[in-house]
């Protein structure tokens, strides 16, 4: 044996064995990440300090009809004046742009029908230096509807709880803020199967304009209508104007569609009462069946209560989940989260109708999601809040396992101030807490600060001095 060979032989064999043993398992390639904030998410308030921020409001009535109008409200929680531009898009005609300026700790509302005349007008607001908060309020004789404006256009939009039953009118408001045409395909999921309306395949939304699609004209007398708007070119903003005038539902809701499907949808506000009908609509626009697990949270479960069964949502189908069907659900506030596999994401909307004195008031709310990177905000903003004292106007759900300390702040002309009596409020892990809005909190922009991640829904009066409540998400702070 030539000893000269031994060292290299040992090294070689040792290296080969080490490599085979140590590198035998597969390594999953890692995806590159350019931007997490640009991924579709729910409307969120950017931190001040950026170059510009943009808010894309889904649309409000602007035809100048009596009782049908809408405003865009711009809030400035900073100590410097906020400057920017408001661009109003309409169905016909060129967009109108005007410079705007909002003083420190103040807000400004812009009635779009005073700027343009259009069945529906959409707007986007660019704010120099970033920051700010923009929301819209659509007004209809049937009620008012507050919606936060989106931070970005998107290529896909989904809605789960459409309704064209006799007396209900559903319109899709598509706006294109970009200066090149967008081309979209609209698909409807109905009780009778998937409808692909030919006239809305390759449907063009011209640059800087608004298009309105009357869903009733496509498929009438239907409930559980899921909507997919997918742009083959360009990006749009999609909102839904839902007028409800049926025996079971009433009201007007102008909401922003969901810019993406997700595997988890959260709802902070829920109520079990005889006069409350709380239904959830689960829409699966994908190609595979989704198995969705609803989990009820925020209350002490009784021994006899059975957890809701897994719901199978076939592809292209909308499934209704009735909270009333949950046996032994205590008459307490509750939250709920719908979970499915990441490979079969869905969209979930809640339709909550509260009937008082035989008058139903319906609100439709899209669920909240975590950001794609798992982020949940600890700070939430409320721009359009109640102008009258409202009990339980804010529903907070602490979705962490740690106690949360919550402080409510109001933006007043003097600056940011804690709302008396709403400082250091403890929210137990996994618990729900309702906050009343009174005193200095009324009519002002609000900030909810928490020491842990929370979901915050606002439950606003349908309109001033009117009965009925409409739930809409507060605006989480983006990080």
């Amino acid at each position: 044996m030539n000893l000269r060979r031994l060292p290299m032989l040992v090294v070689t064999i040792a290296a080969l064995v080490a490599v085979v043993l140590g590198a035998g398992s597969a390594v999953v390639p890692t995806s590159a990440v350019f931007s997490t904030v640009s991924a579709p998410w729910m409307p969120a308030a950017p931190l001040p300090g950026g170059l510009t921020s943009a808010w894309f409001c889904p649309g409000v009535p602007a035809a100048g009809e009596e009782g049908r109008t809408g405003i865009v409200a711009v809030f400035n929680s900073g100590e410097a004046a906020l400057r920017g531009r408001l661009t109003v898009l309409r169905v016909d005609g060129e967009p109108v742009t005007q410079d705007i300026e909002v003083p420190p700790f103040d807000s400004k509302e812009f009635a779009l029908d005073t700027i343009v005349e259009s069945p529906y007008a959409a707007a986007y607001v660019e704010i120099d230096g970033g920051g700010g908060l923009v929301e819209q309020r659509a007004v209809d004789p049937a009620g008012q509807s507050v919606a936060a404006c989106a931070n970005a256009s998107a290529r896909e939009w989904y809605l789960a709880a459409g309704d064209t039953l006799d007396g209900s009118v559903e319109r899709l408001v598509l706006s294109n803020p970009h200066d090149y045409p967008a081309v979209v395909d609209v698909t409807l999921a109905t009780e009778r199967g998937v409808r692909v309306p030919e006239q809305y395949q390759g449907f063009a939304v011209p640059a800087q304009s608004v298009r309105v699609i009357d869903v009733n004209a496509i498929i009438g007398d239907q409930t559980r209508i899921g909507v997919s708007v997918v742009a083959s070119r360009g990006r749009v903003i999609v909102g839904r104007a839902q007028l409800l005038e049926t025996p079971d539902r009433a009201g007007f809701v102008m909401t922003l569609a969901a810019p993406a499907t997700r595997d988890q949808w959260w709802f902070a506000y829920g109520e079990r009462a005889d006069n409350v009908v709380e239904n959830y609509y689960l829409y699966n626009p994908g190609d595979e069946d989704a198995e969705v697990t609803p989990v009820l949270l925020g209350f002490q479960q009784s021994a006899g209560m059975e957890a809701p069964a897994t719901i199978v949502v076939a592809d292209g189908e909308v499934v209704e989940f009735r909270m009333a069907d949950v046996a032994d659900l205590p008459a307490e506030p509750h939250s709920v989260v719908f979970s499915t596999e990441p490979s079969t994401p869905i969209v979930v909307e809640r339709v909550l109708t509260r009937t008082i004195d035989t008058v139903p008031t319906t609100s439709i709310t899209l669920g909240a999601t975590t950001r794609p990177d798992g982020y949940v905000a600890t700070t939430w903003y409320v721009g359009l809040g109640p102008s009258v004292a409202t009990q339980g106007a804010l529903a907070l759900y602490n979705n962490t396992s740690a106690e949360s300390i919550v402080t409510l702040q109001a933006i007043t002309p003097q600056g940011v101030q804690n709302v008396a009596g709403f400082e250091d409020i403890a929210v137990a892990p996994g618990a729900i807490r309702y906050l009343d809005i009174t005193g200095t909190a009324l009519g002002n922009q609000l900030i909810i600060r928490s020491t842990t991640q929370v979901f915050v829904e606002r439950v606003l009066p349908r309109e001033p001095d009117a009965q009925g409540r409409v739930a809409v998400w507060a605006v989480p702070a983006n990080a």
Binding site: V11, T12, V27, S31, A32, V33, F34, L51, T52, E126
Partner: protein, 1111 residues
């Protein structure tokens, strides 16, 4: 008079001197001409044996012939003989006497002994030379021919080797000595040819025996022996052939050279063929010199050329020599003391006669052409680094010379040397730039194969070279790198075998003597002189420089390979000395490679390594090990090639074991690096996997060759045991491992995609009347068509001119403030800080943003690289970016806020150019600015009309940009924070230009000087011949007078004087018919007395009887 020319005498020299001291020839004087100048040690060695010897130190080493000519100056008198000797001969004691006797007996002018080999005197070395009409000598004995007295008759020959021969002093003087223009090789043929012309006879006296080491090539590795032989043979032919025959001879030479070029290339003797071509071409400027010499020779001519021609051999010895050269080779064995760990001795051994190399090369070339047929017929697709060449080689060279680097945003970074290399290299594709990429790709494969062929010359048998060549060119790595457009890896594939070959050559490692395996010869190592070692290192350095100029990561690769070779050599017991020389040679070559790329070689570590990805590529161990890194799916059979890595270490012996160890070192080190990189488990950045696998491929090829060599030499024929099955397993594994290569033959394009991203994209981002603009590519660095700049998180960007990027976009340029600003703009888009990203990008003339998904190289429809999260969304969300085109292959956004690269801003817009921050930029839409001075970004100069206002130029601020408007110079100022602008007070005709700085010119001159220095060091250039001859000639005083010193023999006995010295042409024994006596006859009585005395031998009465009878 024995005349010995001494140069760097080794231990054997003592024996040479001793043999001269032992001569029984009376009154023998010895002159030692020290060609290396004064050397006390050598002189002492001589005087220790021959105290009376005359030792003359020459001022310079002019070569053997010119040095020997010195004797004509320091010795006077024509009566006597000169016995010229090399310093590596040992004469039998009676050699000179027997030659003198035979010279008289045959009345010859020149006489040579029987030369036998130094170590084995029974092996013949030479018994005279046959010479053809082209001056090419051919030995009259075969290599290794045993002396069985078959050549012992006195024979007329055309020439005798200069190793040892005896000539009459008067003849030597009359002929003018050796041709002073011939340093080495051919001087003996030339002298003998002239002797024939003058009517003298040249014979061999085999009774006189001389041992000869014949190691000129190893002792003088600095000389280009092949070239010298060719040049000197041609010189002799052109000057010694008669005028009437010369035209035909010239024609024959031209035809023969052409034939030789073809035969030489096909038979693997391209070097010899090239030497002949070079000699022929080189003769043209020497025409006046040759003519003058012909005039001088004409005075010597006493014999018709027909008679001389009849003495020459028919046909061409040159063509015959090709066959002869295939049969033998010089190999390195143990040293003179029989030790295996010193500098080995060079011996000539038989090389197996085989057509295998020729057949293999033809097969490999055909296979490569077959596998590349689609690339050849339809050009190489634009994928990865496979980017088209620009239209003009001149423009490419102009770019290199320019002080402005116009790639990306533009900078004053020195242009890469690769531009010059490509420009000069375009002669290979006859300046048809469309062919450039194809020739480069296909040529790199063959060049790599040739490199392995040259490297494996260290194996004495052709079999191993064939295996290594086939294994290397059949490596699955090739379809892997070609199908993904990894040009850098392909260049590494071509360069690395050459680097290892040249480094081992510079370390002195050569072909080992198969017979030395028993002594466990770790390496066949010869001692190289300093000059030769420097020359070889310089050659290696130049090779590295060229490769690095084309692919900078090769610099890291060769440095790492050097370290691995050194460590492997130590581990495998190759010895510290050899390992040290490997380190020195490798490190020096790497350093030279870097130096020659200065000033462009200001690379950082990140420039030489792969741009970081988001995480582990995650191909998996089997894919990395089987080199499945491209579109080809060749299976796992290639894993079989790893078997010889281990079996080679188990089975090999001697130098085969050493190289098996080095091969294993390459495979293990770089294989582990590749695997760790694939798992993102390295704490530092390394070149991309394609480059890392090149040393693995080379190691596998070497291991396969070692396995075959060990099977043939160390296993086969031995006692049956575990070695035999293991040896068979190795061979089978090599066969299996190369099998997948057959699939590449059927594909015909190395699995490249025909429809690539650039095919679809090019028309969408082509230049138009917009003005100058740039295209920004952003995404995963593996799919970008130009040099990526890391943005972090696995995202990179690249900037190119409109249309398809070209090859120059491969080279990275140093960043400037403007690059930082651009990076910040992209970060703003990434973070969602703005929805007006187009305005941020506009000052950089970025009109299109391309997000590649499937480039057709590393990312394909069947195996796509996952799209970066949020990339298209982030750009799509921008309000001033028009989503122009979307497809699974790429997204294109058009910047609606863009303005031309050279744009005029007037009125209120002019103030906007002063914006120095992003916050200001996003508030103003400047898209209306009209283009002026189109072509500035591409050509660095333009002219045209400009209005009053501000002309913004989308390049980083540099005051060497000058604008002249209506004869008035407008100084450059800073615009948009870090870019260049000009404030034009009054509009008018304008010219914009970049003035290259004098420092850039100085850099170019410095770089050129470095290259010249390296080329000189790498060449065998020496001082011009005339200066050496002048130095050697000098004014030398006569130190010996033959008439005084030589006491001529007296006719004291009855020794017959067969032929007194008389005119050669008139001798009865001569075959020549003298036209006119050349030499004045000596006095017969005097001569007779001298000869009789010399031949007097009282102990040999028989001779006296014979003498009497002859008389």
């Amino acid at each position: 008079m024995a005349v010995v020319v001494v140069h760097g005498p080794g231990p054997w020299f003592d024996e040479t001197v001793q043999s001269l001291a032992s001569q029984d020839y009376p009154a023998l004087s010895t002159v030692f001409l020290l060609a290396d100048g004064a050397d006390d040690d050598t002189a002492a060695r001589i005087r220790a044996v021959l105290p009376e010897a005359f030792v003359e130190a020459l001022g310079a080493n002019p070569g053997f012939g010119p040095a020997a000519n010195t004797v004509a100056q320091i010795v006077e008198g024509d009566q006597g003989f000169f016995c010229f000797c090399h310093d590596d001969v040992a004469l039998d004691p009676d050699a000179i006497r027997l030659m003198v006797e035979e010279l008289y007996r045959s009345n010859a002018g020149i006489i040579g002994p029987k030369l036998v080999t130094w170590e084995h005197p029974r092996i013949l070395d030479d018994v005279g030379l046959d010479v053809d009409r082209f001056g090419q000598p051919a030995s009259r004995v075969d290599v290794g021919e045993v002396d069985q007295e078959q050549h012992d008759a006195v024979t007329d020959v055309f020439a005798v080797p200069s190793a040892c021969f005896l000539t009459r002093a008067d003849l030597f003087r009359a002929l003018g000595g050796f041709d002073a223009a011939m340093s080495f090789h051919g001087e003996d043929v030339d002298l003998c040819w002239r002797a024939h012309i003058s009517g003298a006879r040249v014979i061999v006296a085999p009774a006189a025996r001389v041992r000869h080491r014949e190691q000129l090539e190893s002792r003088r590795p600095d000389l280009n022996h092949v070239a010298l032989r060719a040049r000197h043979a041609l010189r002799s032919t052109l000057t010694l052939t008669s005028g009437s025959r010369l035209p035909v001879r010239l024609l024959e030479i031209v035809v023969l050279t052409a034939v030789e070029a073809v035969v030489g290339v096909l038979s693997g003797h391209a070097r010899e063929a090239w030497a002949s071509v070079r000699a022929l071409v080189g003769a043209i400027p020497r025409f006046p010199t040759l003519l003058a010499r012909r005039g001088a020779i004409a005075k010597l001519r006493r014999v018709s050329d027909t008679e001389v021609h009849d003495l020459q051999s028919h046909g061409s010895n040159r063509l015959a020599s090709f066959r002869r050269a295939r049969e033998t080779q010089l190999v390195i064995g143990v040293d003179d003391h029989g030790n295996a760990d010193g500098d080995g001795a060079v011996v000539r051994r038989w090389r197996e006669r085989s057509m295998a190399p020729l057949v293999t090369w033809i097969a490999v070339i055909l296979a490569v052409l077959l596998a590349s047929r689609t690339l050849i017929s339809r050009s190489v697709p634009t994928i990865g680094e496979f980017l088209p060449f620009p239209d003009s080689a001149r423009d490419l060279f102009g770019d290199f010379l320019s002080g402005w680097n116009r790639r990306e945003l533009g900078s004053t970074t020195p242009n890469p040397t690769g531009l010059a290399v490509l420009s000069i290299g375009s002669v290979l594709w006859l300046f048809h730039m469309g062919l450039g990429l194809t020739v480069t790709v296909v040529g790199a494969i063959l060049l790599g194969g040739l490199g392995v062929w040259r490297l494996t010359d260290l194996f004495p048998s052709n079999r191993e070279r064939v295996v290594a060549l086939v294994t290397y060119t059949a490596m699955p790595l090739l379809p892997g790198v070609i199908s993904t457009g990894r040009l850098s890896a392909l260049i590494a594939f071509a360069a690395l075998p050459w680097f290892v070959h040249l480094v081992r050559s510079a370390a002195g490692i050569g072909t080992a003597d198969p017979n030395a395996a028993a002594a466990d010869l770790a390496d066949g190592v010869i001692a190289l002189g300093a000059r030769e070692r420097i020359r070889r290192i310089a050659v290696a350095g130049i090779a590295v420089a060229i490769a690095v100029a084309m692919a900078p990561p090769v610099l890291l690769l060769v440095a790492a390979v050097t370290i691995v070779l050194v460590l492997s050599s130590i581990l495998v017991g190759a010895g510290w000395r050899t390992s040290g020389w490997l380190l020195v040679a490798g490190a020096a070559a790497t350093a030279i490679g870097w130096l020659l790329n200065l000033p462009a070689a200001n690379w950082s570590w990140s420039d030489l390594t792969a741009v970081p990805l988001a995480g582990a590529p995650g191909r998996g161990l089997t894919d990395v090990a089987s080199m499945n890194i491209g579109q080809a799916r060749l299976g796992l059979l290639a894993l079989a090639l790893y078997v010889p890595v281990v079996t080679g270490l188990l089975l090999s012996r001697a130098w085969r074991l050493t190289w098996a160890g080095r091969a294993a070192g390459l495979v293990v080190t770089f294989g582990v690096l590749a695997v760790l990189q694939d798992r993102d488990a390295l704490p530092f950045r390394v070149p991309e996997v394609g480059i890392l696998l090149v040393p693995v491929a080379l190691g596998l090829a070497l291991a396969a060759a070692c396995a075959v060599a060990s099977f043939a030499s160390d296993v086969a024929g031995g006692t049956f045991g575990w070695r035999q099955p293991l040896g068979v397993l190795s061979i089978v594994a090599v066969l299996c491992g190369t099998f997948p290569a057959l699939l590449t033959l059927t594909d015909g394009s190395w699995f490249t995609t025909r429809t690539t991203m650039m095919t679809l994209l090019a028309p969408r981002v082509a230049a138009d009347d917009f003005g100058d603009f740039r295209v920004l590519y952003i995404g995963d660095p593996r799919v970008l068509p130009a040099t990526p700049h890391d943005l972090g998180a696995g995202i990179s960007y690249a900037l190119t001119a409109p249309g398809v990027p070209h090859i120059a976009d491969r080279w990275t340029t140093a960043g400037s403030d403007a690059d930082d600003e651009l990076g910040q703009a992209l970060a703003d888009v990434s973070s969602g800080a703005t929805q007006r990203g187009g305005r941020l990008l506009a000052p950089y003339a970025i009109r299109y943003i391309v997000v590649p998904h499937i480039d057709g190289g590393q990312s394909t429809a069947s195996d796509p690289i996952e799209q970066p999260i949020g990339l298209s969304d982030a750009f799509g969300a921008q309000l001033d970016l028009r989503h122009l085109f979307t497809s699974p292959t790429f997204d294109v956004f058009e910047n609606t806020a863009a303005f031309p690269g050279t744009a005029a801003f007037t009125g209120s817009l002019a103030d906007a150019t002063a914006a120095s921050g992003s916050a200001e930029l996003v508030r103003r839409d400047l898209s209306g600015a009209p283009p002026v001075l189109n072509g500035t970004l591409e050509d660095t100069s333009a002219s045209g009309e400009v209005p009053a206002g501000v002309v913004a130029l989308a390049v980083p601020f540099d005051e060497r940009w000058t604008m002249n408007v209506a004869g008035e110079e407008v100084p450059a100022s800073v615009g948009f924070g870090a870019l260049t602008s000009f404030e034009v007070a009054t509009g008018g005709p304008a010219g914009l230009d970049y003035e290259t700085s004098t420092s850039r010119h100085a850099e170019l001159v410095g770089q050129a000087l470095l290259w010249v220095a390296a080329l000189v060091a790498a060449s065998r250039l020496r001082r011009p011949g005339w200066t050496r001859r002048a130095a050697a000639r000098g004014d030398r005083a006569t130190v010996i007078d033959l008439a005084d010193d030589v006491e001529l023999p007296t006719d004291a006995g009855d020794v017959p004087v067969l032929v007194p010295l008389e005119p050669v042409g008139a001798t009865a024994g001569s075959r020549h018919k003298a036209e006119r006596p050349l030499f004045r006859p000596a006095d017969p009585a005097e001569r007779a007395a001298w000869v009789d005395d010399m031949f007097a031998d009282e102990d040999d009465p028989g001779l006296g009887g014979a003498r009497g009878s002859r008389r």
